[in-house]
């Protein structure tokens, strides 16, 4: 759909005639609070037009003939400001943003007179940060573009205090995905992952993203489920001029490209139509003949195909936009295809006695070959109803698929044999979000601003026809592998998840000015209605009379159509009663807060939010008529206070302090007393209906110094105390470990963050082409485990899962406009972190410290900068990823170095 719209859009753009006029646009900010100011009158060369005022976002756009102009900004509560020498060229757009001081308040922070374009560049983001009410760190479009990142997850790796785990889940300040939330265009978004709470950010290609902000302190207008951080992504912003850019990239991975590659074909998209959709295949309710027909309706495809040479990865994208009178349109579209091979070593340990670890299973030859395809588009529209009110419609669609072949051989300690395990997995994830948003500034109502938004988001994840076979042979021999009759050998599995969120929200802010005291009073609400449906069906081929079958033949012959017969393989449905569930979570929150400037130096942002949450999980066996549903329910009402103080130590320095209370609610699956088997992980998981939500007390202090330009120095300290935090525990079952959830006694998490961003010309003029930025995070966390209740867990006190003690990022940039060149060098280092909690006297599993080095070089082929070449080298160090348990390497792999060459052309 979006593709079509975009194509139409671009063809329109391409045909429009060259205009003879140019535009000037910008945003007007309040110098104290950093908020955009609506209803500011703009006069051009002394000529005021009552229609030329800033919109609720503080933005304005003027269309003028070429020439130089002087702009004057006036408002009832602000001191008049002027920008001189604004040059307008035909067909181009000039930026003229400014900051206005409040009347009665003295300047508190020094800001450049002109703070760049609205579209995010590093500097404007920094200004925004300087003026922000809460502690935040962010990454701009420029930063994303200049890095090797191809998606939001990779882009975030460079942000202070952030680490990204499992290709897409963000850890903020050492707190895992449980403690982070993601918003897209100011709306909470649903997840595509049945076992996760948040959406993996690798779903969002970087081309679609304007900026990502990570909020680290809480303010009452944010959802109360907040502790580590809130990732706010915004899709491409509205253009102030016509834009059209296309880009193409090809990537070569040393470990994948031109290597032999296994791939799978022939999977079904849903269970065969011959199988009744609403009836379980009970033995006894269907005849042998019917079972044979059911079984034969599955295509026989269990053996991977091997390609001799894997092709390079490729991506294509286009971004375009324009303004048509009152209507602004921007669209972006991208497609990509990437192959990856990850050969690895995997071991599983066992306690041989007294905590002495021994190897239980060992797979030296563990391969994952994956083909990932992605398609994504954004279409955003803005319509100015009046100069002081506008409507926005923002649509995002992403769709990606992974076609994975996993194959491994080695000793499996559980069955005491060498096994050859082959699994085909196809996962398709789709995310769609559409939001309608209105902003209205009411000059008659004390310049108050009403903002409302309704968002509908829909995530789907389809994993059709997972196929697995397991073959075995006596360990230590070179006998041929023979087909093993195990529960997951000859297995076909279908599952689908759909998560939807309906989210209406509105807030109303009234600014007030009284002598030395000024500020904004804001009330609002946000209701998040989340609905989830999960559905799956499991089948396996079970051999009946073994002597009629030859298990030494290859899988496709063992499980051949003619072997699907009553005395050969019979199809059995092994779907469980809890394989379908529906869940809902309604959170209704209201808040009142005030943003108060007390004199020149002190600013206070505080208030309270009250959230009512109602979570229900209903499990019902869909394949049994009139089955009794089982329900788990959790209802809570929590008041959540927050206060942030900002003290301007000097014109360029801020001191911030904040306290807030936030909550962390159990997820659907954690609450439901039913047992689920993780689709991805393999552990079976049973929820605990007795767990409660956790409360978190957050304390933050930060000192910031902005020397000017794109430079900053910041030091932060944070402390978080968790009451009743929800942690995973493991207990044994007859055959495996089972995961569950408990409220542990308590946990704390504290740390220090340092950030430094500087041009080097301050040290030597010779270094003026260079700038460096680096950030460093130290986190110390501790979880107290009540050992008497959970004796299986090895560690009595340990860091939070996924928390690295140190995270270090350094970026060195060299830019030489004369040579039309820019280069960036990245260093990212993450210290060891727990990936799995140890049990049965086996220690915790740690992922060892790893360091990554990336390099990007860009060259403008044309003077105008319209045609750009880009070369990047990712993961130059190609260090081994290493996971250790008790000094034994339990997992190791490399991902190879990736060299990408790309070009982009900007038509206008």
């Amino acid at each position: 759909m979006n593709l079509f719209v975009n194509l139409v859009l671009f063809s329109v753009l391409a045909q429009s005639p060259q205009p003879s006029k140019g535009t000037v646009s910008g945003t007007v900010f309040d110098a104290t609070s950093g908020r955009p100011i609506p209803n500011i009158q703009i006069a051009v060369d002394g000529i005021a037009d009552s229609r030329v005022i800033t919109d609720p976002d503080g933005r304005y756009t003027l269309t003028l003939s070429p020439g130089k102009y002087k702009l004057r900004f006036t408002g009832p509560n602000h001191i008049e400001t002027t920008i001189a020498d604004v040059e307008v060229k035909a067909g181009e757009s000039a930026n003229a943003s400014t900051v206005m001081q409040q009347q009665g308040a003295v300047t508190t922070v020094e800001v450049n007179e002109k703070i760049g374009a609205i579209e995010s560049n590093a500097e404007s983001i920094l200004t925004e940060r300087k003026l922000a009410a809460t502690v935040s760190d962010s990454i701009s479009k420029d930063d994303i573009k200049n890095s090797t990142a191809s998606d939001a997850a990779a882009a975030l790796e460079k942000v202070t205090g952030i680490s990204v785990v499992d290709n897409g889940f963000v850890f903020v300040r050492g707190l895992g995905e449980r403690y982070s939330a993601t918003m897209l265009n100011n709306a909470i978004i649903p997840t595509t992952e049945p076992e996760r709470r948040v959406v993996p950010l690798d779903l969002f290609p970087s081309n679609l993203i304007d900026n990502i902000k990570v909020l680290k302190t809480y303010s009452p207008d944010l959802p109360g489920e907040f502790s580590g951080g809130l990732v706010q992504m915004n899709t491409v912003e509205f253009p102030t001029k016509k834009i059209l850019q296309v880009s193409v990239n090809y990537g070569f991975n040393t470990q994948t490209t031109f290597q032999s590659f296994r791939s799978a074909q022939g999977g079904l998209r849903s269970p065969p139509s011959s199988i009744p959709a609403d009836r379980r295949l009970f033995v006894g309710q269907f005849t042998d003949q019917e079972f044979q027909n059911f079984g034969r309706s599955f295509p026989v495809d269990y053996e991977p195909q091997v390609r001799s040479s894997a092709r390079p990865s490729q991506s294509y994208s286009v971004v375009g936009g324009n303004t048509f009178g009152k209507l602004g349109v921007v669209g972006a579209f991208t497609i990509a295809n990437t192959l990856s091979r990850t050969p690895q070593l995997q071991r599983f340990l066992v306690n041989r006695g007294g905590g002495q670890a021994g190897i239980f299973s060992q797979y030296d030859d563990f391969h994952i070959d994956n083909e990932s395809s992605r398609l994504a588009g954004v279409l955003n529209l803005a319509y100015k109803l009046t100069p002081s009110s506008q409507l926005l419609l923002r649509n995002t669609l992403t769709r990606d698929s992974d076609n994975e072949v996993r194959q491994f051989t080695g000793l499996n300690g559980g069955i005491g044999n060498d096994v050859l395990d082959t699994r085909f997995r196809f996962v398709e994830r789709q995310f769609f979000s559409s939001s309608l948003e209105g902003e209205h500034a009411f000059a008659s109502l004390k310049n108050s601003i009403l903002h409302w938004q309704f968002t509908y988001s829909d995530s789907r994840r389809d994993e059709p026809d997972l196929r697995q076979t397991i073959r075995g042979r006596e360990s230590g021999t070179n006998d041929p592998f023979t087909f093993l009759n195990l529960g997951d050998s000859g297995f076909r599995f279908f599952n689908g998840l759909r998560d939807k969120i309906y989210e209406p929200q509105a807030d109303w802010g009234v600014p007030f000015f009284k002598g030395n005291v000024s500020g904004l009073f804001k009330v609002g609400f946000r209701s998040t209605f989340r609905r989830r449906d999960f559905d799956s069906r499991r089948f396996r081929f079970q051999p009946v009379r073994l002597q009629t079958l030859n298990f030494t033949l290859p899988d496709n012959q063992v499980l051949s159509t003619q072997n699907i017969r009553p005395d050969g393989f019979v199809l059995r449905e092994v779907t469980r009663g809890t394989d379908k569930y529906a869940a809902e979570m309604d959170v209704i929150g209201g808040f009142a807060m005030v943003d108060l400037n007390l004199g020149a130096k002190l600013r206070l942002v505080g208030g309270i939010r009250v959230e009512d949450a109602n979570i229900g999980v209903i499990t019902v066996d869909p394949l049994i008529p009139n089955a009794r549903p089982s329900t788990a329910i959790l209802i809570n009402r929590d008041p959540l206070p927050a206060i942030n103080l900002i003290y301007a130590v000097g014109k360029r320095q801020n001191l911030r302090g904040g306290y807030s209370r936030t909550i962390n609610r159990p997820d659907f699956r954690e609450l439901s007393p039913f047992e689920f088997t993780n689709i991805v992980g393999g552990y079976s998981t049973v929820g605990n209906p007795n767990i409660t939500r956790a409360l978190i007390d957050n304390l933050d202090v930060r000192y910031e110094f902005f020397p000017g330009g794109n430079q900053v120095m910041a030091v932060s300290y944070f402390y978080k105390r968790f009451t009743d935090p929800i942690e995973q525990i493991y207990s044994p079952t007859a055959s495996e470990l089972r995961q569950s959830f408990i409220n542990v006694a308590g946990a704390k998490n504290q740390g220090v963050e340092l950030e430094w961003r500087s041009n080097l010309d301050r040290f030597s003029k010779k270094l003026r082409d260079f700038s460096v930025q680096s950030n460093f995070t130290f986190v110390d966390s501790n979880v107290d485990i009540p050992v008497d209740r959970f004796p299986q867990l090895t560690s009595r006190a340990r860091p939070l899962v996924g928390q690295s003690r140190f995270i270090y990022n350094a970026i060195a940039e060299w830019a030489k406009p004369k040579l039309r060149s820019q280069a960036r060098f990245y260093l990212n280092s993450v210290s060891r972190r727990i990936t799995d909690v140890g049990s049965f006297r086996l220690p915790d599993i740690y992922q060892e410290r790893n360091t990554f080095i990336d390099f990007v070089y860009q060259y403008n082929l044309t003077e105008s900068g319209k045609w750009n070449m880009r070369f990047s080298a990712e993961n130059l160090s190609d260090n081994q990823y290493r996971y250790k348990q008790s000094d034994i390497l339990v997992r190791s792999f490399r991902i190879g170095r990736t060299f990408t060459i790309g070009t982009s052309y900007t038509f206008f």
Binding site: E474, D479, L486
Partner: protein, 599 residues
């Protein structure tokens, strides 16, 4: 020897003269046959009998009848060249009163199958070759009209006997159990007050039936309990740690827990199984664990500190077609004991066509005797989590098309050195393999030890098993210390023709039959292996096997280890294997392959 023969001949001649009064003259060949017959105390014929209900109700097994239902009785007889001269007697016995009704005339007076009374003299006959022959019912060989079952609630037994030609000595019998009931009652999900299940009804388990709240569930002899396939959760009878089961059947009236499906289409895993939980010690560090997918509360957590815990008493109980999937990749066992203590009783138990293990112990210290495992899909005797009990007398048959491990013994999977040490003492098991590929594991030795297993395994007979006799894993690091400390031994292990069809065929030698890593540690003091043909009578006739030793069988040797005199073990079982001369499986068990029951 010669003297003995004379005696037999003399007896035979006397018998022939008595018989011939009523008989016409015979050929020399016939006379020789008769003489040979007289010398026999046994027959090599194989046969079995079964019955179906013409009015079978959906969801009820063919074992169940209402008064007036039409019955069809069938039999298969394989004379095995042993055809003459015998007499054959068939009757139905009402086990509550013991009254026998003889076929074909439905008389209380004893007749043979030709309707001849003792007074008339039974008619000698060649053994008939019956292949799924209808005996009673439309077109039946004995009664050719349809027959209604009488209004006698409780268990009945159909019996067919081969007797010697005088009709006095019973050489071999086939039995089939059925029950006439007034109704099938649904058991509740929770049994929280004591109650008795009586044999005038049958009972249906729907989902997990939990005996809890200090309730005692008593099951009368001859009662049939039914589980249905496809139930979610699977049908399981769970005796929680605060419940007790008294299921004392008798040889003639065993308690049968079975599938609801018709004969011939019953399958492993049609329903869950029987699980008993107690508070005896297990060796997980937490002290107690749930049975996954079955436990739903603290009383479902087995294990504790009371080694004397009484889970109840099981006697003459058959669990058939159990092993439903309770979690992905995890089926229930036919019989499960978790943390049961010394006060618990278990004897004369059969696990028939179980999907998972036939008998599994999770820790605890309860004893068991006289176990039969037939055609299970997984292991027959499986112990883990520190089981310390005693087990004696077991016969285990792998299905003709699959087998797995005979014994699989772990100390504890997650801590090989956990204490209390899993240290069971077992005597007198016979394992008959199918020489077919393993079901779950390609390495499926008859006796398999791993993960720190201790224990004393004695007088075990493994014959025709898929893989070699003796194997395991984690031997050097986790079992060797037990061998050194005298906590692991294997004595009197007789192995023959195991692993002969493996990819690398095994030979009947110690080196070939015992895994290499075990050989290094099984010092002569710790083991006694016998590699000899056990000369069993008819071990591979699945539906009617006979694993007693032939004359001259090496299972009988005066030098074999004698079980200890500790009040539990039967010291007189001085043979290798689960059976000497006496067949303790008679009447209460069933061995018939499902395929042999298909119409």
């Amino acid at each position: 020897m010669r003297n003995k023969l004379y005696v037999i001949l003399a007896l035979g001649l006397a018998a022939v003269s008595a018989f011939s009064a009523d008989s016409k003259s015979m050929t020399l060949e016939e006379a020789e046959r008769q003489l040979a017959g007289v010398s026999q105390l046994d027959t090599s014929a194989s046969f079995w009998v079964w019955a179906t209900n013409n009015n079978r109700r959906t969801g009820e097994p063919d074992y169940l009848f209402r008064a007036g239902d039409q019955i069809t009785i069938r039999a298969t007889m394989k004379p095995n060249n042993d055809i003459y001269p015998y007499t054959v007697v068939a009757y139905r016995q009402y086990n509550k009163t013991g009254v026998k009704t003889y076929l074909p005339g439905n008389t209380t007076a004893v007749t043979d199958i030709f309707g001849r009374t003792i007074e008339q003299g039974f008619q000698i006959t060649k053994l008939p070759e019956w292949n799924k022959q209808i005996l009673v019912g439309a077109g039946g060989a004995l009664v050719s009209t349809s027959v209604a079952v009488p209004n006698e609630l409780g268990m009945h037994t159909i019996v067919v006997q081969i007797r010697d030609y005088t009709g006095t000595r019973i050489l071999k019998s086939a039995y089939w159990k059925l029950a006439v009931v007034s109704e099938v009652e649904n058991l509740p999900v929770n049994i929280t007050s004591s109650r008795t299940l009586t044999s005038d009804k049958a009972y249906r388990i729907a989902g997990v039936t939990r005996v809890r709240g200090n309730a005692v569930l008593t099951i009368d002899p001859g009662t049939i309990i039914v589980g249905a396939p496809g139930s979610q959760p699977a049908c399981v009878l769970l005796i929680t740690t605060v419940g007790r089961l008294v299921a004392n059947g008798t040889r003639s009236q065993p308690i049968i827990m079975t599938s609801s499906q018709p004969l011939g289409s019953r399958q492993r895993g049609d329903w869950g199984g029987l699980t008993l939980l107690g508070k005896a010690r297990i060796n997980d560090v937490s002290g107690s664990l749930p049975i996954e997918g079955v436990s739903d509360g603290d009383d479902g957590n087995y294990g504790g500190t009371d080694d004397g815990h009484d889970c109840g008493s099981l006697k003459y109980v058959r669990v058939e077609f159990a092993g439903a999937l309770i979690r992905p990749n995890e089926e229930s066992n036919s019989f499960t004991w978790g943390g049961c203590g010394t006060a618990s009783k278990a004897e004369y138990l059969q696990a028939h066509y179980g999907f998972d293990d036939s008998f599994e112990w999770f820790g605890g210290i309860n004893d068991a005797k006289y176990l039969v495992g037939t055609y299970g899909a997984d292991d027959y005797v499986d112990v883990q989590l520190g089981y310390r009990g005693r087990v004696q007398h077991g016969v285990f048959f792998a299905n003709s098309d699959r087998s797995n491990r005979g014994i699989e013994s772990d100390n504890y999977e997650r801590d090989f050195a956990a204490r209390p040490l899993g240290n069971p003492t077992m005597y007198n098991f016979t394992f008959i393999g199918s020489n077919a590929a393993g079901f779950d594991e390609s390495d499926s030795p008859c006796l398999y030890f791993r993960r720190g297993s201790g224990g004393s395994f004695n007088n075990m007979l493994c014959f025709n098993w898929t893989t070699r006799t003796f194997g395991g894993a984690n031997i050097a690091d986790s079992i060797q210390p037990n061998i050194a400390a005298g906590n692991f031994s294997a004595t009197g292990i007789l192995a023959w023709n195991n692993g002969t069809s493996a990819a690398t065929p095994a030979t009947n030698t110690f080196d070939s039959q015992v895994a290499a890593d075990f050989r290094a540690h099984l010092t002569p003091a710790a083991r006694q292996f016998v590699l000899a043909n056990p000369l069993l009578r008819n071990p591979l006739e699945y539906s009617n096997p006979d694993v007693r030793g032939q004359i001259g069988s090496p299972i009988f040797r005066a030098s074999w280890l004698q079980p200890p005199d500790d009040g539990f073990f039967d010291q007189w079982a001085t043979w290798i294997g689960g059976m000497g001369d006496y067949d303790w499986t008679e009447e209460w068990t069933t061995f018939i392959l499902e395929v042999d029951l298909r119409p």
